[in-house]
């Protein structure tokens, strides 16, 4: 518990309405989008300016109070859970779009701007910000930068870090630091922006973000392909990528997810399909026409059982809505869902799918997956029940095998969700020990008292 004095000081900084202390309210900040982790904070603070954030951090640093930054809490890594209690610093009220510049093709926003609100504002001006984590309806841009989030569009357009041009970051000691600017080119010193992008709230609090934009592609076309065999679907993805055409999105849905989605929202999906690929080509109308024709050809040659090209925007929207319901479909399927986020090199996708089948057979756990096939980033999920200790331990073991399989193929532990709490057990295996040690040193330089999001990324006892 925090001293009353601290609460009073926090109230003095942000005002009474922006400090939450009731048990009911603290309960509401004890979880995120994961099923496994919960821990309540001692207080929730909702600042509206960088100056307020600075004062909160100064206060916390002096009294060595843990501070867990949080946006909308839609993350699926445990990253925004205040596992050490203390302060949740929630940015949802810092939600102003400060500038959209059509000439510079940049936008500057506060961290609490919701991605979908941002997308709507950009669309009005014919602009496009590609990183599209499927939590876009809820997630804040600050959160997507701190997690270096990706999504379906990243196969063609890259992840969040490829779009961050400038940041305002409040350091643990309260200093408000500016990094980068609004220019696409900037070769001034180290790429410190990249240090904070993907830092999962452990190095500083992002209070302002300048993002690179691109003009909205004038045309797009959505295609759906059905496969009898998941590996054949995976091979089709590799064939497309090797053919010289880069679709805007290539998404993969397995039979289980497909059935669940059709159950939740009947839309006439081919529920017998073992695997379904959802693809989109975008660009100028002529390019879209040519690319989609090429994609359909390759899909046919690769053994697709059925191919559908969306007739219009509403049919396309239906397919993509299905995809975004995918996580809901898996997360609602069991008490505890261990949804992982490994990514493998694209040319190892088929091999990885086969390994997943093997692991499933050997461990007896059903493994379902959906994800971004185009960039080798799948989300294999194991259904279990954390209340059943014995089973949960076995499930964790099975998940470990999945990680090992991905790593052995040259893959990574997390493609887009971040390490947070969920994956820290495996970090040692997935990183060069010298690099891991360097991360710790950086952390200690920037946050000597370890107040910022403590307990995340690396395992506790080593801190």
């Amino acid at each position: 518990m925090l001293e009353k004095k601290i609460i009073t000081q926090l109230r003095n900084v942000v005002g009474k309405d922006a400090v939450l202390t009731s048990r009911e309210d603290l309960n509401a900040y004890s979880y995120d989008g994961t099923t496994t982790w919960t821990h309540a904070p001692d207080v929730v603070v909702l600042p509206t300016t960088a100056e307020q954030v600075s004062q909160i951090l100064k206060l916390a640093d002096e009294s060595k109070i843990p501070v867990t930054p949080r946006g909308a809490g839609t993350n699926v890594s445990g990253g925004s859970i205040p596992i050490k209690g203390g302060i949740v610093l929630c940015t949802t009220r810092m939600n102003k779009i400060l500038d959209i510049n059509k000439t510079n093709l940049t936008a500057t926003v506060e961290p609490g701007v919701v991605l979908q609100d941002f997308n709507i504002a950009l669309a009005k001006q014919g602009l496009f910000y590609p990183p599209d984590p499927q939590s876009f309806l809820g997630c804040t841009i600050g959160g997507t930068v701190a997690e270096n989030a990706g999504g379906p569009y990243c196969v063609k357009y890259g992840v969040t870090k490829q779009y961050v041009l400038g940041l305002e970051v409040v350091l643990a000691n309260g200093y408000i630091m500016n990094l980068g600017g609004v220019t696409v080119k900037n070769r001034t010193g180290y790429e410190l922006i990249m240090l904070f992008t993907g830092s999962e709230g452990t190095l500083g609090l992002i209070t302002k973000i300048t993002l690179r934009l691109i003009p909205m592609p004038p045309a797009n076309k959505t295609m759906m392909a059905v496969f009898d065999d998941m590996a054949v679907g995976g091979q089709a993805v590799s064939n497309i990528m090797a053919s010289g055409v880069v679709p805007a999105k290539i998404e993969f849905v397995d039979n289980f997810v497909l059935r669940r989605i059709e159950e939740m929202t009947p839309m006439g999906l081919p529920v017998d399909a073992k695997a379904l690929l959802l693809l989109q080509a975008d660009g100028s109308p002529a390019a879209v026409e040519a690319e989609s024709k090429q994609i359909v050809d390759i899909l046919k040659k690769s053994g697709a059982k059925e191919i559908k090209v969306a007739k219009d925007a509403s049919e396309a929207a239906m397919y993509w809505k299905m995809r975004s319901a995918g996580f809901a479909a898996t997360f609602g399927a069991a008490h505890t869902v261990m949804a992982e986020d490994v990514a493998v090199p694209r040319d190892k996708l088929v091999e990885f799918i086969r390994k997943l089948d093997e692991i499933s057979e050997r461990t007896g756990f059903f493994i379902c997956y959906l994800g971004h096939a185009g960039d080798g980033n799948l989300h294999p999920s194991i259904f279990t029940d954390i209340r059943n200790k014995e089973e949960f331990a076995r499930a964790q073991k099975a998940m470990e095998e999945i990680f090992e399989a991905a790593l052995s193929l040259g893959g990574v532990l997390s493609g887009e969700h971040g390490i947070g709490l969920e994956k820290q057990r495996f970090l040692k295996k997935a990183m060069d020990p010298v690099a891991l040690n360097l991360m710790r040193k950086i952390k200690t330089i920037l946050d000597p008292n370890h107040i910022l999001n403590p307990g995340k990324i690396w395992e506790e006892e080593r801190v």
């Binding site: 048990r23 979880y31 989008g33 099923t35 839609t74 309806l137 929202t265």
Partner: protein, 429 residues
């Protein structure tokens, strides 16, 4: 003796499937009108659901803060309509309100109003009449047809612009049986559930509904025994016991009729909700389900049952040549799925221009007693609706829920936007 946990959370347990369906994705934050204003997690469906789970787990209790967070929901159902898991959290919220009221009772003055006054229609009418004598004396008349209402209603309304209480109530203006005029053959008989607002505040609307129906060959029965639909009592306040009394008497009042129509979206939806929330015995379950099956919104009745030709919809004198937009009441659109019928009716009217407003189905923030508890929040939600209405350039915003209409009148006046608010039936000659 301490009640078992099962008993304590009797109503919540009935909606356990909804409670557990939420998988915490947080997408509801984008849709929730309350969250959009407050931007804090306890405002949104996910937060409320987790709070109720906390209650069940014994981590939380019935505190002032718990009640406050639970009450701060308009039950607009936008979260459910957009939920990837289709978790109906408003169900859980209503149930949790009921369990809380059962355990802790209602607070003054709501206990008096909900338990004692609303179930007694005639007495309620007299109290309202009594209050209305003072409304012009103590408070200045505001613009248009709106006045501040004095006495306890004003205390509840916290100074909002409330329409004047009618000099004569609908029940005093019309007989029980209203036959079609001479020369028009009666093809059908319907019961008319008038609702408190139409009865006490908008009797002319009620008269107009009856005239329109009788002219189109419908015999309209207005049973005197009907009362309040119970929405503020069992949905808003969670008082299921009183809700059952009201439901029982309404079911009885309309016995023997095949159709019961209502011009108030909230009433329509609440009457249809009797079996879901209030059926505690097999008898009630049967009676409520049968009753709910008879209930139709007026536009649904005209379009789907009576199947009136487009030519039946002629503009009333005051709407000719005007630009009209439509506000979807939550209770009509998301609760009952009625969105095309009212639009079909309005678009059939000659000599008017129909214009769709952006986010026409976004909650206006009224939500009955919600707007009494949280008037400031309710106003903030309403201001977004005002912006949407303004952007259409419409002369008239039509709806079919007197609750929404009060909110729209109040917010348009407050924002000095000269758009007239009308019930869909008032558009028709």
């Amino acid at each position: 003796m301490a009640k078992s946990k099962q008993d304590r959370y009797e109503q919540i347990k009935r909606f356990e499937a909804d409670l557990t369906k939420c998988m915490k994705c947080g997408f509801c934050t984008f849709w929730c009108p309350v969250y959009q204003e407050e931007r804090i997690e306890p405002s949104v469906a996910r937060g409320k659901n987790m709070m109720i789970r906390g209650l069940l787990a014994g981590e939380l209790d019935y505190t002032k803060e718990y009640a406050d967070r639970l009450n701060k929901c308009t039950l607009c159902m936008t979260c459910t309509a957009n939920c990837p898991s289709k978790a109906n959290i408003p169900n859980v919220i209503v149930a949790a309100r009921a369990d809380m009221v059962k355990a802790r009772g209602l607070k003054f003055p709501y206990n008096i109003i909900y338990r004692w006054l609303l179930p007694r229609r005639t007495l309620f009418g007299r109290v309202i009449r009594f209050a209305s004598w003072f409304q012009g004396i103590f408070l200045p008349k505001t613009e248009g047809t709106i006045r501040h209402l004095s006495m306890f209603l004003s205390a509840l309304g916290k100074g909002r612009n409330i329409p004047q209480i009618a000099p004569r109530f609908l029940r005093q203006m019309v007989p029980v049986v209203n036959k079609p005029p001479g020369g028009v053959k009666a093809t059908m008989t319907v019961g008319y559930f008038t609702g408190c607002m139409t009865d006490f505040v908008l009797p002319d609307l009620g008269k107009h509904v009856i005239d329109f129906l009788t002219r189109n060959g419908v015999e309209v029965i207005v049973p005197g025994e009907q009362g309040c639909c119970g929405a503020p009592v069992f949905l808003g306040a969670g008082d299921f016991d009183t809700g059952r009394k009201m439901a029982d008497s309404n079911v009885k009042a309309f016995e023997g009729l095949d159709y019961v129509i209502s011009d108030c979206a909230t009433c329509t939806s609440a009457l249809k909700d009797y079996p879901k929330f209030l059926a505690d015995t097999p008898e009630r379950e049967e009676a409520y389900a049968k009753f709910a099956g008879k209930i139709l919104d007026i536009s649904q009745f005209l379009v789907d049952v009576l199947k009136l030709p487009a030519s039946a919809y002629k503009p009333s004198a005051q709407v000719k040549g005007k630009k009209i937009t439509w506000h979807d009441p939550c209770h009509l659109s998301r609760h009952l799925g009625i969105t095309s019928q009212p639009r079909q009716i309005i678009k059939s009217i000659p000599d008017i221009e129909y214009v769709e407003m952006p986010n026409a189905d976004r909650c206006c923030g009224m939500a009955g007693s919600f707007s009494m508890y949280y008037y400031d929040l309710s106003k903030q939600i309403a201001d977004k609706k005002v912006e949407a209405i303004k952007s259409t350039g419409a002369d008239i915003v039509a709806s079919s829920c007197p609750g929404c209409e009060i909110q729209l009148i109040d917010s348009l006046l407050r924002n000095k936007v000269p758009v007239k608010v009308m019930h869909i039936m008032e558009l028709l000659e």
